[in-house]
Symmetry: C2
Subunit: 117 residues, 2 copies
DNA sequence: TTGCATAGTTACCTTTTTTATACTAAGGAG
DNA sequence: CTCCTTAGTATAAAAAAGGTAACTATGCAA
């Protein structure tokens, strides 16, 4: 157990709050099955290490299933578990809110004053 | 924007992913208006500084309104903005998922409070 | 023999986030 | 005059998260 949660929303946030987890879950929801390399291409900027770690945590939290094919070169497929699939409504809500507010977020902290020295 | 988002869900996660932000938003959604000290009591374990910082970030992201009464001792009231209120559906979804899976994520969990959505 | 393929691992480092502790302002009560 | 109140600041420290670059395994193809 990682934490004494004060409220159920924290449980959800806890498993979903990693820099890339939201997008990972979203893509797995769309595509059903994705290989490691496919995910990597879908997340421009992730490092191998970070992607591995995010996937391992999602797996540990029971959201993602990891299927390893005993081949060389390796082949690993990721998909949502039943638990992960039940996040669909939440992810959709987050997507909707995000779309509505993408123009709003973070516009009041623009460091624009470079006029005088 | 603070980041080059590759998907709208990231926007939402970005403004909601702070250690205490989920519960803060939840309580503000329930109570409409809360003073700083009331919030502090509702979040056992939070430090003054962290609570201040979380609230400042929520304010900066346009989710929370801060109303200062020019008194001594000071009185400051926090409430959700319209933007913040629009997170209601998302928060409710997260709460529901969290309740369903509190037994899954970490087995030796203390029971979470059963406030209703 | 060399090189390529995939899905990692490892060591090291920087940045971000959170915590702990002490301190402040200004009026009213005693 | 001193203490109490609230909503913070200031400073330092610790912890967590994420990034970079190099390295691994093993079968196959040239």
């Amino acid at each position: 157990m990682r934490k004494n949660y004060i409220h159920p929303v924290e449980i959800t946030l806890d498993v979903v709050c990693g820099k890339w987890k939201g997008v990972i879950l979203w893509h797995l929801q769309q595509e059903n099955i994705l290989r490691f390399g496919e995910l990597k291409k879908l997340l421009p900027g992730v490092s191998q290490k970070t992607l591995t770690l995010q996937l391992r945590e999602l797996e540990e939290d029971g959201l993602v299933k990891r299927k390893v094919y005993p081949q060389v070169p390796p082949k690993v497929e990721y998909s949502l578990t039943h638990y992960g699939q039940e996040l669909e409504a939440t992810l959709n809500q987050m997507c909707e809110w995000g779309k509505r507010h993408k123009d709003k977020v973070g516009q009041n902290n623009q460091p624009v004053s470079q006029e005088n020295s």
